[in-house]
Symmetry: C2
Subunit: 254 residues, 2 copies
């Protein structure tokens, strides 16, 4: 009998932002699959098998999880944030499509979580308060010119942007190039928010402007929000400014 | 002494997708402010005042909440989904910016929730599995030509799109025009998902393609996901297809 495969969003990383639905599923699963640091967030249980893997192993991880589900297990594949936003949900769908026909009989359910961009935005105000987009800066799976073209079109369209996977040891120069590209379309005063490990130990928030934004402010655990021409700062005495994008767009886009 | 103002995301609408953080805040607030149907989701408590208002009253609601916080109350302004995605967070920032200087002393915190697009995406697979954008189709606060231009640029950039506020009695024709505009850029076979009231009673999911997508399939409670040229269906015997967008973009954008 075929088991069940859940792809579960763990949210930003603290238990108060993990939904009861996700918590129940990861508690009751027979097998847990995920990137090591996400598996490490979960309490060990004697009845569960834990399968931690590296962060470039998404397809293999998805295949192993599907095989465990075919064996009748209740399986949870975990992602940080939301599994549908640059997480494991698409990898599971890809593996399922490419795999043997019997895998299509696995009961698959995706369980959403608070994504990093929502957590970062909440910390500073409402920068995603109007039309916005989410772009992965990784060129492991798409050519860099496609990334640059999307950045340019998004800026011209007036979208606020959440930039995922901004930088890594293997991709050291892409983020700086992205800032240069965005600076060719957007004003230098456009607000930029660096949100690192939001909701976890080591959280760090920095608010700057595009002309002062540099890749040295980001690491693998950072989600970056770049405003539109409408995004504003509200200064507050004795506190950090609020960053927000008004609900209306007064001016026509470029 | 100034109180505290929380802007809280209630998620899709069922308690299993409400974060413990949000639950604790709405339980302990002195005053709750929100659109009537969101307030109605919360249990009545003898110690709380409930201030339900209409869905065109965002700024007035935010002002009343800020005044209650200035009076020393612990206030929760509630939004469905995530308050930072076409919800009350931006309205509170706008009201605070325009209001008297003392409002800037209010301790404001935004509490994220599972947004509608994440909930809809999870129900069908991983349509937001690659770069995507969120666009409000409401032309109450921005000119319709800006909406059409954003749709066109987003389609050309290769973004999957989550369309919020697709239709209402006061805005009956915009969604059909949006589908026509998108059809001028994207293939007719592009997958389209209509997700109504996901996670609540009355949930309804429909998967179709762009050439067959019509505004009659949507109402105010619907979030629509329009795929990119990469978005695919995986047929499953005896079950609904999975809709997903692969993590990589093989071809360059248009």
């Amino acid at each position: 009998m075929t088991g069940k495969l859940f792809v579960v969003g763990l949210g930003p990383g603290n238990s108060s932002q993990l939904t009861p639905e996700a918590e129940a599923i990861v508690s009751n699963a027979d097998d847990l699959f995920g990137y090591g640091p996400y598996i490490d967030r979960l309490p060990e249980r004697a009845t569960q098998r834990r399968h931690a893997s590296d962060n470039s192993q998404e397809i293999q991880r998805a295949e192993q999880a599907l095989m465990a589900a075919i064996d009748g297990k209740t399986v949870a594949v975990v992602s940080g944030g939301d599994p549908g936003v640059f997480g494991m949900a698409a990898a599971v769908c890809e593996a399922l499509e490419r795999g043997p026909a019997e895998w299509r009989q696995v009961d698959v359910a995706i369980v959403p979580g608070i994504s990093a961009m929502l957590a970062v935005a909440a910390r500073v105000g409402a920068p995603l308060g109007h039309d916005f987009c989410a772009i992965s800066l990784s060129d492991n799976l798409k050519p860099w010119p496609v990334v640059e073209q999307r950045l340019e079109l998004a800026a011209k369209a007036g979208f606020v942007m959440a930039l995922y996977n901004p930088i890594s040891r293997a991709r050291p120069w892409q983020l700086e190039r992205a800032f240069v590209k965005l600076g060719s379309v957007l004003p230098g005063t456009t607000p930029v928010v660096f949100g690192r490990a939001v909701g976890r130990p080591g959280e760090r928030i920095a608010i700057t402007q595009l002309s002062d934004a540099h890749s040295s402010s980001a690491d693998m655990a950072t989600c970056i929000i770049v405003g539109s021409a409408e995004t504003r700062l509200v200064e507050r005495p004795g506190s950090t400014p609020l960053v927000y994008t008004p609900r209306g767009a007064a001016r026509p886009a470029a």
